[in-house]
């Protein structure tokens, strides 16, 4: 029972932290036009991560598949009761609450990414912006609930649930783990990220360098105008 078995494959772990980081980054770059390019890059990353997760839910390793989420209301209720009783049921892969949390987070993520893209492409107009902002805040609330839930279950279960999302490994019965962490798919994922970010950041650098000169002109013109106004 106490063997460290491989549960989360590497692409799934990369997905999880890329999704978390891109969501946080997109929130932090939402308020200023100065970071509009970063906000777009983070948004594409976020959308790509969700698209990958949907695919991986169909063709990934055992515990990454959506087919591992077969929990009905009765199973959810039993699990919650076991948590409250302080004798938590253990699940090697996703627990029953994931059946609610995963569709909620991925669904909200799709709305956030879709409405963000549509806003930038100027489909829909103001109400689309409204959808984008409301869905992003709803997702933030869901993320906070997700984090609090993980902390609570980790404490009740006396098992750190975050560490396995880095190492891939958990205590569990031999044979209930996965055989491979799919390093090749992980490599493809990292290559796709690099293909998006390296040109994106290079373009940002070029623009910042070019802006140095235009900004100087703008200040000059501005100063001149200001003197006229006096």
């Amino acid at each position: 029972m106490n063997d460290r078995i491989l549960v989360w494959d590497l692409p799934l772990r990369i997905f999880h932290w890329v999704l978390a980081a891109s969501f946080a980054g997109a929130f932090l770059t939402a308020e200023s036009e100065r970071q509009r390019d970063l906000h777009l890059l983070l948004g594409y990353t976020f959308a790509g991560a969700i698209a990958f997760r949907l695919l991986w839910g169909l063709v990934g390793t055992q515990h990454a598949r959506f087919s591992s989420l077969r929990f009905g209301p009765a199973a959810i209720a039993r699990y919650l009761r076991s948590l409250l009783a302080g004798r938590p049921e253990r699940h090697v892969g996703h627990g029953p609450i994931a059946v609610l949390m995963i569709p909620l987070l991925l669904g909200l993520g799709l709305v956030v990414a879709g409405s963000g893209w549509a806003t930038y492409a100027e489909f829909g107009g103001e109400w689309m912006e409204e959808v984008h902002e409301i869905a992003a805040v709803a997702m933030l609330v869901a993320v906070v609930a997700h984090v609090l839930g993980v902390i609570a279950v980790s404490l009740l279960q006396r098992e750190n649930l975050v560490l396995p999302l880095l190492s891939g490994r958990k205590a569990g019965a031999p044979g209930s783990g996965i055989r491979t962490s799919r390093p090749l798919v992980a490599l493809l994922l990292v290559a796709a990220l690099a293909a998006l970010w390296l040109p994106g950041l290079a373009a940002r650098e070029r623009r910042l360098a070019a802006r140095g000169t235009t900004a100087a002109v703008a200040v000059e013109v501005g100063g001149e105008r200001a003197n006229h106004g006096d």
Partner: protein
């Protein structure tokens, strides 16, 4: 029939919240706000508006960085390179018709250029100037 009342109510509500306004409505509102802020308020000046718009205010950007020195032509976002439709109402009939959009972009853009909100006086001056610009584009 039973659905007609909610639909009519929704349409009426939509009409109120999304009521199209004219640039002059915004000017009147800015004037009222400016008078509240400063009882000595003496009207808006297009010349002051132009100076404000093209001045970098000690930072690296001015409003003109994206909207150009002549906002009656198409501008370009200084960060993303995206096209920005003209700001002058004569060149773009959609400008200063949607309160939510005007409020949102004054807040965002003033923060980016000035690191603070624009005053009603400043917004009114800019609008007064924009309203004097003749259309350059026949679209």
């Amino acid at each position: 029939m039973r659905v007609a009342i909610p639909i009519a109510a929704a349409l009426a509500l939509g009409a109120i919240t999304a009521r199209a306004e004219r640039p002059a409505d915004f000017e009147a509102r800015f004037a009222a706000e400016a008078r509240t802020a400063d009882p000595a308020f003496a009207g808006f000046s297009a010349e002051r508006g132009r100076a404000f718009f093209t001045n970098a205010h000690g930072g690296d950007w001015s409003c003109a960085s994206c909207h150009r020195n002549d906002p009656s032509v198409v501008g370009e976002h200084i960060v993303t390179g995206k096209r920005i439709e003209p700001l002058a109402p004569s060149a773009n009939a959609a400008r200063f018709t949607r309160p939510a959009s005007v409020a949102k972009w004054f807040q965002r853009n003033c923060n980016d250029v000035l690191q603070r909100a624009c005053t009603a006086q400043e917004k009114g001056d800019v609008l007064a100037w924009l309203m004097t610009l003749p259309a350059k584009e026949t679209r």
